[in-house]
């Protein structure tokens, strides 16, 4: 851990949201600290990330900012093993979830993905499934549904299911808008609602960490505000890491901020990181200053 100590910011899981502070329904999920150690990444021979060290504190929102092509989305996808789905992708370094390497060869990739959820730039609900089934899709997909629910197969809804759907949709700030039409297809919702449905779907499997890859870039300002409120509300229950191009958004939603840059022939790396107020208010590096003040990128 000596290497990590060089970095500013919280290193150990912060006790900010202790188990008692958490709502009862998430008793089996704990916002966990995610630590990237010396992460480098390649697509084929092309290196896109170099020696990234970053601690994403438990129960906090960490924003990854930087111009296009700086590797922040790649970094995000490395955190829950989506990176390896790209042919030719490779990696060095470690990603630790509560001290355990998510790339441990003994772990199946899906074990890591179940604990580290992801919301994508483009909302991707399962379009033919109902809103209700979309929320529960993760349980069926991960085989954690003890009753052996099969996708696409009709079965009786239990009170437990109903409660989980309502909790997840409430957490995602969507419940009041869809409570009367849970049986309609996911595709019938507006873009902003679809994105919040995806958040609800991710929360239903009770992840420890939720990764968000520019979740508002395709949304109008009103929907963006709703999603940002949602992010602030779920932060107590789940560690959030968000990639955003929107500086105001980073300031509004994040506690911690890391500025990525790929420039002067160097692959993507972190130029500066720290509490969001410091990165925006007192940037140490002139390039950070330029970027957060809109002078490039």
């Amino acid at each position: 851990m000596t290497r990590l100590d060089r970095k500013e910011g919280p290193v150990a899981p912060t006790p900010a949201a202790g188990p008692t502070a958490r709502p009862a329904h998430r008793a089996d999920a704990t916002p966990a600290a995610l630590v990237a150690e010396q992460v480098s990444a390649w697509f084929g021979d092309h290196q896109v990330l170099e020696d990234v060290d970053l601690t994403m504190a438990a129960g906090r929102v960490t924003a990854l900012i930087g111009p296009s092509g700086c590797g922040k989305s790649t970094f995000l996808r490395i955190l829950n093993r989506m990176h390896e789905l790209v042919p030719g992708a490779s990696l060095a370094g470690r990603v630790l979830l509560e001290g355990q390497d998510v790339y441990d060869p003994a772990l199946r990739p899906l074990e890591s993905r179940r604990r580290i959820g992801m919301v994508f730039q483009k909302a991707n609900p399962f379009p033919t499934m109902s809103i209700y089934d979309n929320v529960l899709a993760g349980l069926a997909l991960t085989g954690r549904d003890a009753r052996g629910a099969a996708l696409g197969r009709r079965r009786r809804r239990t009170d437990e299911d109903d409660a989980l759907v309502e909790r997840s949709l409430r957490s995602a700030g969507l419940w009041d808008e869809v409570r009367g039409r849970l049986g309609t297809p996911g595709a019938s919702l507006s873009g902003g609602q679809q994105q919040r449905l995806c958040i609800a779907r991710s929360l239903a499997v009770r992840p420890d960490v939720l990764l968000m890859d520019e979740p508002c870039s395709a949304l109008d300002p009103t929907s963006t505000r709703r999603v940002e409120e949602t992010i602030r509300e779920i932060a107590a229950e789940v560690t959030v890491v968000i990639v955003t191009h929107n500086m105001q958004q980073a300031q509004r939603v994040s506690d911690h901020c890391a500025f990525f840059l790929a420039a002067e022939g160097r692959p993507g790396h972190i130029v500066e990181q720290g509490p969001t107020a410091d990165v925006f208010g007192r940037p140490q590096d002139p390039r950070t200053d330029d970027y957060v003040n809109g002078r490039f990128g």
């Binding site: 829950n80 989506m82 789905l85 042919p87 899906l110 074990e111 993905r113 179940r114 959820g117 992801m118 994508f120 483009k122 991707n124 609900p125 399962f126 379009p127 033919t128 499934m129 899709a137 993760g138 069926a140 997909l141 991960t142 085989g143 996708l151 696409g152 995806c198 779907r201 991710s202 499997v205």
Partner: protein, 344 residues
Amino acid sequence: MSTLTPTQGPAGPAGPPPVLVAGAERARRSIVAKPTPADVGFVAAVRGAAISTLVVMVLIAFFLALGAWPAFESQGWRFLTTQEWLPEAGTFGIASLLWGTVLIALIALAVAVPIGFGAALFISEYAPPWLRRPMVTLVDLMAAVPAIIYALWGFFFLQGQLLQVAQWISVHLGPFLPFLRVTTPDSLSGYTSSAFIAGVATGAVVLPTVTSIMREVFAQAPQGEREGAIALGATRWGMIRAVVLPFGRSGIVGGVILGLGRALGETIIVYTIIAPTFTLTTRPLESGSNTIAAHIAAKYSESNGVGLAGLLGAGLVLFVFTLFINTLAGVVVRRSRSGAATEI
């Protein structure tokens, strides 16, 4: 920005400020580009080519109907219900042929659909990238092999291999399923030239069609939804069930129906393998069956008069049948969100 003087309405630069009078008619401009002579000529040529395909189809139907008329006139509806083919005696019909055609096509599908489905799933979802392209090419090549090659393979190789299989099925399952029995179960020769063997060989011809339609729709399943499922912690099979199969459902149905259309019209394989009979066989493992296409191929050179008209009539029935099946496949595939870009 100084030009932003207050103007009213969409009036042009000249003229007094327009006064909107109810019912006043503004002169409208033509916004249709005038085509050049080269454009006109080219469009006429391609339009002619497009129309000619339609004309050929209509002419075929017309020719068949005209030629078949004497047969329909002499037999009436019995043409569809008679099991004999004795034009000299004035009694002939396609009941057994129609049944044999459907039976062999269904056997072909029973072979081709599971294999094609699995192959399509493997190629689009499981095969490593270096293997995917050669596999796609191989399936396309398989579709390009002339049917006569499959016929020779089916007759000289496959038949020999399948006799024991047919016997095993008949002996072990026949006691429970009467349609799997044969009259002489002990003699292998009782299993030759059966609808079963012709159907399996036809299945080999249908297989690449089924595979490539299914593969194409599977491959179009949206990346975003795939990643959504995987990011939720789905296994690959879970992702396929949640995303790929619902997306590709109509492609699966369309592929099956299209395969059925191909199987119904398959001629040379059935003609080579089958021992023609004119009774409705309810025993696909037993020697002897027939299809419309194979019957026409076998009889056309020795027929004349009302017998030839009968063959044309059988051809018309097959033509309408396959046209209907293929149109159905096209509608099913195209109406889905997955098949909008799929060629059939």
